[in-house]
Each structure stands twice: as C-alpha cells, then as structure tokens.
C-alpha cells in the first residue's frame, strides 16, 4: 500500500517529547508520525531512547513535555489502559501473557464475549480467536494454555489481542529478536495483513535487512533525539547506519597503546542451551577486548556464564591455564574475575545499603579480622575507593540509591577493584551515566589495562567499543561471528557483522 504522507491525516503523532529519569535524560526529542496502512521502522543504537518512546506511546511513561496526538486530538494517557482505549497496542519483546489461561482468554481477558446472564461464551470466544488467527494466516489452538508457547506464538497471541481491540496503531518492540527465520517470515506476513486492514505498524528493530524488507518509512533516533524520517527507498543500509551512529566527534577516547601479555582468560566452546553456543576466545594481560552485538545476541549471558551466575551446559573457562569451576561465582572471584553487571540497580548494587557496605560487599572475607569485620576496615576501604574514583557523595553511610547513575557505577567499580581482580568484565559500563563520568570510566578502564588487568567489555555503544578496544568480538544470535582488530574496526564493519549484513 503506497503511503502518501502529504494529504492523509496521521493516526498518531508524537512531537518533541522529553523524558528524564532522575538525572538521566532518556529522551530529549521524541518525534514520530504514523499514517494508516504503513509499516514504520524506528531504529537507533541501543540506548538511543527507542524503548522509552515506545513506553510513552503505550501510556506506561508520561512524557515530561511534548505533544501526543491520536487522530489529530491531543491525548494524555494516565496508564496503559488509556493507550489501549485510544487504539494503541504494544507488543513487547517479552510478551506479557497469563501463563495459566488459555490462548483465547489471553486475547479477550476482561472483554470475553458473553451470553445470557453475563456468562462467558467460551465457544464464541474460541471461534472469535480462531477467526483472528485465520485472518493472520496462522494456526494456533485457542483452547491451549499459554504456558509453554514459544515466544513467536506468544507474540501472535499479543497481535491477536491487538486485532481484537481493533487497534489502529500496533507497536512492536524488537519482535524478531527471539524468532527464527521461519517465524520472522510469518510475522511479516501478519504485518502486511494488518496494514491492508488500515492499521499503522511501528516496528522497532535492530535487524536492518528486516526493516528494509517490511517497512515503508523509517525514523532514526540517536542519543534520545529524533534524527530523520524518510521513505525507505530513499535510503541505503549504509545511510541508516551512518545516521544511527554518526555523532559529533567530540568524545575523545583515552586509548593508550597497549602491550598485551600472556593469555589470562581463555574461553573454549562455552555453550548454554538455547542462549549461546560454542563461544571461544582469549583475553591477554593488559588487553581490552570488547564483546559487541545487538541486544539479545547473548553477550551478557556469556559474561554471566564465565562468572558462574548461570550454568554453562558445555565448554570450559581457564584462568592462567587453570580450569575454572563453572557455575560458582565464588570460584570465579577466587580466580580473580570480577563482573560489573549490566543492571546496576538490580544486580550491581544493593540499593538499600550504604556506600561503605556496597563497596565492601564483595570483599567480606578480606575485611575479616579474627572473624569479625571491623567497622574501621570497611570505612577505610570505602574511603580509599571513593577517593580514587572521585566519588561525589555526602556520607559513606548514605544509601547508594541517593547517588547519581554515574556515581553508582563508580561504587560498583570500587566494589570490584577493591578485590584486585586480574580479569575485569564490565557489562555496559557507561549506560545511563552522564558524559563527564563516562569519560572518567573510560580513563579508568584504560588505566586498568595499562596496569596489566585483562578487561572484557560488553557495550552497545559503538564509539565506545571502537575507541577503547584492542580487539572486538562480535556476537550474533548466540554465536561468535567475527573478530575484528581494534584498529581495523569501523562502525560500519561492526554493525554489519552484528546485523548479519555480510560475512565478516
């Protein structure tokens, strides 16, 4: 269906929306316009603000400022129900279904067709569900429990729910991330069916080939701001990648030439069924190696398996040639591995505890003197690292929840550096922190490598990956697909490997 943006009235417009979470500005200019019958792609790097924008459309977040119009009328959503009533349906990457209820009930929850006496008409409900599935061209038993459905089928249920609501706008947040090729094809079939029924589909995806295959227009976001919206045929993959990553070159990375020493960490054939498989690589002393890839490629999961949070189902990890007992974080810690996890608030810090307690949390055994932990030792340790990391704080006993994102990250780093690790794994070390602290973290990582620590960095920010790494390992769909030398890497080459644009 051709889209003529000039005379049709947009079904949904978001203009100049902003949204901050505390000190972090997630969106500075959220702008997007959707027309009936179009499949519209929203692309951007991880952390560009796409998910926040989606949540504004879904009524989950209220924007701090900006306008949202549905069919030309200003709306203010007080919750997801409002957005739903306005005809906006959102399908999240991880669908939210009721596992104990049937597929049909999931579709019609709270709106089940009823017969005399307000009794639910199961037969009508099931046949209505079947009818929707037929319209979508898929086969799914409506009387089956939702527990145990594949992610693809769960998404179909969500789509069916949206259809049953007569949604005019269907937002899909990375719907293909967990799907197989066959399932993706089926999804695209469904999307074109939806368009032919006059719905607008907003499609958030990292996989550019899919964007080009399924969408008519594309909106690109970068650093929380709108960059451009264009018909897809006016762009090439290269244009899109450039617009996504191209930023002002004012961020200088403090990379000093490194002199990698012996192999410290060796990962061989590491696999975790259904998550990643056959991952092998080495990291040397004084070397910074990056794991790049899209969200869902399995990067964090590899880190978790090395550190022992998750059990690997196959493969081995050796540190200094000595095999590491897998599935035991304490063994990993004893071998000198430290992990600064992805989710600072859930995994990195105990938010309700003070700075001192958090810094000491991974060093409890080292702080022990005759069985007890002297308060002075804990305080000294925290003071020491607060000074070294230039932490901004009032009192060491203040809970870490009072700190800014950047300072919280420094506390996490302090906690692990206090253990004198030989191998430091950092997962998204600069996500959600301010520019100044970001630069400090980069300097710190560079310092650490020059002190001979092996650093394995997971990052979704390409400039960071390119600016900091000695080597870049690219993961795609749970497999190691490319290894690129730090000096040879470009934004485009990494992105192409990560999205599977060409053999790297």
């Amino acid at each position: 269906m051709p889209v003529d943006a000039s005379d049709a009235r947009p079904v949904l417009e978001l203009e100049r929306a902003t949204k901050s979470f505390g000190a972090v500005r997630a969106i500075v200019d959220g702008t997007i316009t959707l027309y009936r019958g179009e499949a519209h792609a929203l692309v951007g790097e991880n952390g560009a603000g796409k998910s926040t924008l989606v949540k504004i459309l879904a009524g989950v977040h209220a924007p701090d400022s900006g306008d949202l119009r549905v069919d030309g009328i200003d709306v203010h959503f007080r919750g997801p129900a409002d957005a739903r009533d306005a005809g906006i349906a959102v399908i999240y990457q991880e669908p939210t279904l009721f596992p104990d209820l049937t597929v049909a009930e999931n579709i019609f929850m709270g709106r089940q067709p009823v017969r005399a006496g307000r009794r639910i008409d199961r037969r009508a409900m099931n046949s209505a569900a079947t009818e929707i599935f037929t319209r979508l061209g898929v086969v799914l038993d409506p009387d089956r429990q939702a527990r145990g459905l594949s992610v693809a089928d769960q998404q179909l249920v969500e789509i069916a729910k949206a259809l049953s609501l007569n949604a005019q706008v269907l937002v899909m947040d990375e719907p293909t991330a967990a799907l197989t090729n066959v399932e993706v094809d089926r999804l695209f079939g469904v999307v074109s069916t939806l368009r032919s029924h006059g719905a607008a589909v907003l499609f958030i995806s990292h996989r550019l080939e899919e964007v080009f295959e399924a969408c008519q227009r594309v909106t690109i976001m970068r650093d929380g701001a709108f960059v451009r919206t264009d018909p897809i045929e006016m762009l090439t993959v290269g244009d899109v990648i450039t617009a996504m990553v191209g930023r002002k070159l004012d961020t200088m990375f403090p990379k000093t030439p490194s002199h990698p020493g012996d192999v410290v960490l060796e990962v061989r054939g590491l696999s975790r069924t259904g998550i990643f498989s056959d991952i092998s690589f080495q990291v040397r002393r004084g070397e910074l190696v990056s794991l790049a890839g899209l969200v869902g490629a399995g990067r964090s999961e590899v880190a978790r398996a090395i550190f022992g949070i998750d059990h690997a189902t196959a493969g081995s990890v050796t540190v200094d040639g000595k095999p590491l007992r897998l599935g035991d974080p304490l063994a990993a810690m004893a071998a000198g591995i430290a992990l600064v996890p992805e989710d600072r608030r859930q995994q990195g810090l105990v938010m309700g505890l003070g700075i001192d307690r958090n810094v000491g949390l991974a060093s409890l055994r080292r702080l022990r003197r005759r069985g007890l932990i002297p308060r002075s030792a804990e305080r000294l340790l925290a003071e020491d690292w607060a000074r070294r990391l230039q932490l901004k704080f009032a009192r060491l006993t203040d809970t870490v929840s009072t700190l800014s994102g950047g300072n919280q990250q420094k506390v996490v780093l302090g906690k692990w550096l206090a253990r004198d690790p030989r191998i430091l794994i950092v997962d998204e070390p600069t996500r959600g922190i301010d520019v100044g602290t970001k630069a400090e973290v980069h300097r710190m990582l560079d310092d650490l490598t020059s002190q001979g620590i092996a650093v394995l960095m997971i990052s979704s920010e390409l400039p960071e990956v390119l600016g900091m790494s000695d080597r870049i390992l690219v993961l795609r769909e749970g497999r190691l697909v490319a290894e690129i030398g730090g000096s040879d890497a470009t934004e485009t080459s990494v992105m192409r490997a990560a999205t599977g644009q060409e053999a790297a």
């Binding site: 007080r78 709106r111 974080p329 309700g352 949390l361 409890l364 007890l372």
Partner: protein
C-alpha cells in the same frame, strides 16, 4: 570533590539526626517506658525480682525462637513452623525420657530432630524454590502431627529435678530465668553476627536485593538453607526449655506461638518484605510484649476480666502485629487513599497500579 562533600554534610547530618529520633527503636523505647511506668503504678512490686523473673520466664522461649525468625525474615522468608517444632522437640525428648534413655540422650536427639526439621524447611525453600509460607504451613502441620503421633494423648512427667528447676528458679544472683539468660546470650551473638560479620552483611543483602547479592558472590540459597536449620535447632532448644518450665510434655505445647514470635519480630521493626530489622528492636519488642502480658495477668481486676486474660493477650498481640506492618507504610498508604479519593486525574499513572485499575471500563463486545 571534598568541598562538595562538606557542603552537603551539614543538612545530611541533620537529616540523619532526625532519622535517628524517629527510628522505630526510639518509639519502642518510649512505649516500653510507658508500659513499665504504668505497670509500676498499677501492679504492686512490678519491678520486684519475682515479677521480673516471671516476665523473663514467660518470654524466654518466645525470644529465643524470635532470633532465628528475625534472620529468616531479614532474608525475605518466613518460618511458621517454629511453635510446632517447639512442640515436637518436647515430645521427642519426653518420649525418649519415658523410654528410659536418660535425659541427655533425649536432649541431643530432640536437638537433632530440630536440625532435621529445619533442614527439610530449608531444602524445600532454598533448593526447590518453594515459597517459605507454603512450606512452613505444611511443616507446621507435619511437625505437630508427628508430635501427636508419638505422644498423644499421654503427658510425660517425672523429669529430673535439676531439669525442671530450670523453670522454677532464677539464675543465682539475678532475677533472670535460665531461658531469658540464654536468650540474652544468643541475642548478643546474633547481634554481633548481624552487625559485625560478613554473614550478617550477606543476610541483609540477600533480603534487600537477592540478585545483587548473588552477583557479589553471596550464596543466598545456601545462607537461607542454614538459617532454616538454625531455626529448627534453636526452636528445639526452646522446646526443651518449655518442657523444663512446665515439668511435663504434651503434644500441643506452645500451639499458636508462631504468631507471637512473628509479631515480636515485626513489632521490633523488621520488614516482612526482608532487608530490615535489628536485634535491639527485637529485644525492646520482646520486653514490651513480655511486660504487657505480665501486667494483664497481674492487674487486679474484676472477675469478668479475670476469665478472659489469655484472650486479651491474643487480641493485643494480633493488633500489634497488624499495626507494626501498617504503621511503617502508613504515610504512603494514607497518601494513596487521599489521592484516590481526592483527585482522579493524575498523569503518571503507570507507576501506580491502583490508579488505572480503579478507572478502567472494560469495553464489552
């Protein structure tokens, strides 16, 4: 950086001073003083050594059971089987003693049964990932049921005098009962563990944010498992003291005490959601409840009140339990209620589930 720190320090310090004044424990001190002053005024010789001995005698086992309960609640779990374990331990010891094994083997086996029962709880919770509420409701019935099987409907008596004298004579030179002395010793140990050891840090962290604790190398599940074992052993000990105090064993000893134990822990400022709670609060809370119960039994009152004193205690303990869960969140709950009543229009609805739930109109088909 440093000048920033000093800049902030002044108001922050004031804040923490204010926090200190309004701490739950400070409130408990005031309540405790009020209870003591009231008792001293109304009950003759309220602070005399006989009375104090009875306060300790009546609260000893409860306090002892409350200590591991506090640790378990801090990790975000709960153990409702404590009173049943108290009963089972007494029953096991009683049956063995009756069979002529002598008192020491009986005591040791009772403690071992406590450890085994605690291990069952801990295993199902920590290894199987089952909710501790359901598991310990199950073992509440199981332990009491086993006590019933091995003992009922008999009552075992005839324990050695030295054993039963634990329940009737104070520790020489003090007005303290043996049970309350053991409570104090264990309380000090627990306080040291909680405040000054890595295990204590790990226990708080496990309750506040289990995932972050795992990522810091804390074996959250292992800690929970052993806390349940500890609870079993300590409750078995309480069961032995309870037996000594009564000089007899019945299968239903201490039925319902789990409520009092949970109430003392929560009234002592621990959060039912985990991560918060102190020994100081627990000791104060135990003292308040111990003194109040003593006042109820000692108050000269009319015959009508006389008959219902135990029931009065149940009502007070139950009310304290609910209050201590409601009051800490009172500010927030009140605001929620006002907001719901007052202004239906709020913009950031998503954070607060009850806003849109109250306004949804389900569109029929």
């Amino acid at each position: 950086m440093s000048n920033q720190a000093t800049e902030l320090a002044a108001p922050q310090r004031l804040n923490s001073l204010r926090r200190g004044l309004f701490r739950w424990e400070s409130g408990l001190v005031i309540v405790l003083l009020a209870v003591i002053v009231f008792g001293a005024g109304e009950v003759p010789d309220f602070l005399g050594s006989t009375n104090l001995f009875h306060v300790g005698l009546n609260s000893g086992e409860i306090g002892i059971m409350a200590l591991p309960m506090l640790l378990i609640i801090i990790t975000g779990e709960i153990d409702l089987s404590v009173a049943s374990m108290l009963g089972l331990s007494g029953a096991v010891a009683g049956v063995m003693f009756e069979a002529g094994t002598g008192i020491w083997p009986a005591i040791l086996v009772a403690l071992a049964v406590g450890a085994a029962g605690g291990f069952l709880n801990g295993f199902l919770v920590a290894r199987f990932g089952l909710p501790s509420i359901a598991v310990t409701i199950g073992t509440l019935g199981l332990f009491r049921g086993i006590a019933l099987i091995i003992l009922a409907p008999r009552t075992v008596t005839g324990f050695p005098t030295w054993f039963t004298s634990i329940g009737t004579t104070p520790v020489p030179g003090t007005p303290l009962s043996v049970s309350i002395l053991i409570f104090f010793i264990l309380a000090i140990l627990t306080a040291v563990v909680l405040q000054r050891t890595g295990l204590g840090r790990a226990i708080y962290a496990s309750g506040l944010q289990p995932e972050a604790a795992e990522f810091a190398g804390i074996r959250v599940r292992r800690i929970k498992l052993w806390l349940f074992v500890l609870s079993g052993v300590v409750c078995a000990l309480a069961g032995l003291l309870f037996t000594a105090k009564n000089a007899s064993v019945t299968y239903n000893a201490g039925t319902g005490l789990e409520l009092t134990v949970v109430a003392i822990v929560l009234f002592g400022g621990a959060s039912i959601f985990g991560g918060r709670g102190t020994i100081v609060g627990l000791v104060l809370s135990l003292a308040v409840i111990g003194f109040v119960q003593q006042e109820i039994t000692q108050l000269p009152a009319s015959a009508t009140i006389q008959g219902i004193k135990p029931q009065l205690q149940q009502i007070i303990v139950g009310a304290l339990l609910v209050l201590s869960v409601i009051v800490p969140g009172r500010g927030a709950a009140l605001r929620r209620l006002l907001r719901r009543a007052g202004s239906p229009k709020r913009t950031a609805g998503a954070q607060n589930p009850d806003v849109h739930t109250s306004e949804v109109t389900t569109s029929g088909r």
